[in-house]
Symmetry: C3
Subunit: 164 residues, 3 copies
């Protein structure tokens, strides 16, 4: 297996319009375009970062995570593995007339993750959300409303719980 | 980083037996084999589509989603990011005698997603399910039974909720 | 589309320090380093396996799954699609002084999946967990404590349920 198929290339797909800070580390199988990744951030394998997204300084974005247009992650945040951000409250493939939805056929709702917030693996973050500074989102949570600064939330839908 | 490792190739792995309609768009890091992808469909990054799956016209399949054998997605459906379909109710790596399970050692249970249904990001769809026409599956839902046409379901396990 | 972009390469990234048993099958877009994958195991597309992880004989690790340092999966286990393991109870990108967390700034909590256990797609497995021999973790479950041998668990957080 190893001789024939294994490969030491990185398979990173970084569009020329990505704004990269100093000391950014990008791991294998990453797809990023039109976004800003600030100084010292780390981006794990199988991550997609879309146009217009912002990753702050010294953030860690873990493998298998999707960060869409409209998402701003402030400095020093941790985003776990397999985290899905959302920017469309009424997703659909087509307009009522059956034409493919284009740029002008939906509203991008922004999400911001404030400084030093931590998001556990497998979390899903609905659109139009603010996750407060230093907040903690438990693994597997589905976040449907704002998370206060310093709070811990968990569950489906996510609710505030006493921090353990 | 950019000079050494970044790459503008698409890293698409499309088996010669994939039946592609007109105007299909396939994004980077896709793995598809033995499936049918009909006219105007869009397939996002890091998606796997297995043998025998059918993606209808003008569907949008978002990044990080897994579509297995036995899944039929009718026309104009939206499937969000990180959605996992399932086709085996009793998954196991081996038979009771310890031999690896092969083609004849399990039953593929089919799932159908009817026209214009929308499935939110992070949803998990159990096998043998019908998701009705125009239905909406909330982000992060775990769908364990049929979803009526036009209904909205959410939660773990998913239950019908009044559409907001 | 096919002529220009489709590719029959496997895009497998297997570090030279991966210890591979006999008859291992590794599918496309896999990222593995410093781990052991024992005889007859199968590793699906878009899987990352980190340094120090162990995959037992004849295991099946399905697509989009993340297996981290500290995870040992014993022989003949099934791990579904999009399963996220965790090894850090207090994840963070930086230390309190704002420096990036390094190797000595966190504690890896080990998880073991005992022989012939089966983990459903979309499950999230917290750190420091033992999943007992022959146990079954339902699709989409968030496992926060040990699972007894032979038990079935499901839900968020996962609880023992009568096996159906």
């Amino acid at each position: 297996m190893r001789d024939k198929d294994a490969d030491q290339r990185s398979f990173i797909r970084l569009s020329p319009d990505v704004e990269l800070g100093d000391g950014v580390r990008i791991f294998s199988f990453v797809n990023a375009y039109g976004c800003k990744i600030d100084d010292g951030a780390q981006i794990g394998a199988f991550v997609e970062i879309q146009r217009g997204a912002v990753i702050g300084k010294r953030c860690k974005i873990s493998s298998h995570t999707f960060i869409c247009e409209g998402v701003t992650i402030e400095d020093e945040c941790f985003v776990g593995h397999g985290v899905m951000f959302i920017n469309d409250r009424h997703p659909a493939a087509v307009n009522p007339d059956g034409s493919l939805k284009g740029k002008d056929d939906w509203t991008c709702e922004s999400t911001v993750v404030r400084k030093r917030a931590n998001i556990g693996s497998g979390a899903v973050i609905m659109c139009g959300i603010e996750i407060g500074e230093g907040a903690l989102v438990g693994a597997g949570a589905v976040v449907t409303k704002n998370v206060p600064a310093g709070a811990t939330v968990a569950g489906v839908p996510a609710r505030v719980i006493p921090r353990g």
